[in-house]
């Protein structure tokens, strides 16, 4: 899964170079380039990203002012030509500090620093539980407690039998390979369900504790195979 990012940088040559590094890495997808804080903020009020490449000194407002105003906590890599921001970087929990111009190798090293926390789900084959990263902590979910998992763009929602919802950065495609095959089945491009929790099925709809889950034509045969029909 690619890391989504924006680039906030008013120097065109530096922004272009960063975009080239992102493309070359194959690991990062740029969702936009902004030359000032207000434009970036406007975008981030309606979109989320995993990572911001952030210049500090820009006309009008500094990069740190952007971090003060956004409602979520993406990873941040500062791209600057000054070494004086160590204290701010520490305060804002910045992941890394790229001095312009930096080499592609240095860029890759920077990506490595943010990767461990990109892994939002931890499983072991045959395990009866998974761990997900939600609300800034690792949450253990027993397989038996999960009703279904629903796609929300770059995020997924875990719905549990006690009616709790956990949103974490991941995709259905990635999860399909990680969750227990014994318990879970992808029934739609946006849904994975716990087979043990299905109450009934009508036409192309599965019912799980009052929730209606669509079954796609492509997945319907798999669903029938896995249900214990007598």
């Amino acid at each position: 899964m690619k890391i989504s990012c924006i680039i906030v940088e008013d120097l065109q040559v530096a922004a272009n170079y960063l975009m080239k590094c992102c493309e070359k890495s194959g690991q990062v997808e740029s969702k936009g380039h902004f030359v000032n804080v207000p434009d970036a903020l406007h975008f981030l009020n309606e979109n989320t990203v995993d990572l911001i490449f952030l210049d500090v000194e820009m006309p009008g407002a500094s990069g740190f002012e952007l971090l003060d105003q956004i409602a979520f906590s993406p990873k941040v890599i500062l791209t600057t030509s000054k070494k004086d921001y160590a204290y701010n970087a520490f305060q804002y929990n910045v992941s890394d500090y790229l001095m312009k111009p930096f080499t592609y190798q240095r860029f890759l090293e920077s990506l490595q620093k943010i990767k461990p926390s990109q892994e939002t789900i931890s499983t072991r084959s045959g395990s009866d539980h998974i761990y997900i990263k939600a609300d800034g902590k690792l949450v253990r979910l027993n397989n038996d407690s999960i009703l279904y998992i629903e796609s929300m763009g770059d995020y997924v929602k875990f719905v549990t039998s006690d009616n709790k919802k956990y949103i974490t950065h991941n995709t259905i495609k990635n999860l399909e390979e990680k969750v227990s095959k014994q318990h879970f089945l992808k029934v739609h491009r946006s849904f994975i369900v716990n087979l043990h929790k299905i109450d009934d099925m009508r036409e192309n709809i599965l019912f799980i504790k009052g929730n209606e889950i669509p079954v796609s034509k492509a997945n319907k045969a798999d669903v029938f195979k896995r249900l214990n029909i007598v």
Binding site: L11, Q12, V13, Y17, S81, K100, Y104
Partner: protein, 132 residues
């Protein structure tokens, strides 16, 4: 960014640090031409800002303007210019008298103007090189 031409060699202006260029772009001369072009596009605005801030005797704004242009020189291998900008920035203390900056500023201004010529020349040479 090693996706460009590999069998030809390009002779850079002696003021350009070839090692720096190789570290950043490998032998991707097509992209390098693009970089020089992008730098030239924004160069005029950036140096005009420096001249304006100097003329208005606004030391913090002058410092910020020099800071802004500084990394550009790194992208085109003009490392000595990058260092000169850094030194000038360091000298731009709000408490220091403006007159103290005059000599350094004049030297910087001359080099800013001559650097533009170097970048233009290299851009032209790269265009020719890449078209062969």
């Amino acid at each position: 960014m090693n996706t460009g031409i590999t069998n030809k060699s390009f002779i850079f202006n002696e003021k350009i640090n070839v090692q720096c260029i190789n570290d950043l772009y490998g032998n991707d001369y097509i992209y390098l031409e693009e970089v020089f072009g992008t730098v030239l596009n924004e160069y005029g605005t950036l140096i005009e800002n420096i001249f304006e801030q100097y003329d208005s005797h606004n030391i913090p704004a002058l410092k910020a303007a020099v800071h802004k242009i500084k990394p550009i020189f790194g992208f085109v291998g003009l490392i000595s210019m990058q260092h000169q900008c850094q030194q000038f920035e360091d000298n731009c203390q709000p408490s220091s008298p403006f007159d103290m900056l005059v000599n350094n500023y004049n030297a910087l201004k001359n080099n800013l103007i001559s650097s533009k010529s170097i970048i233009e020349e290299e851009k032209g040479k790269l265009e020719l090189f890449n078209s062969q």
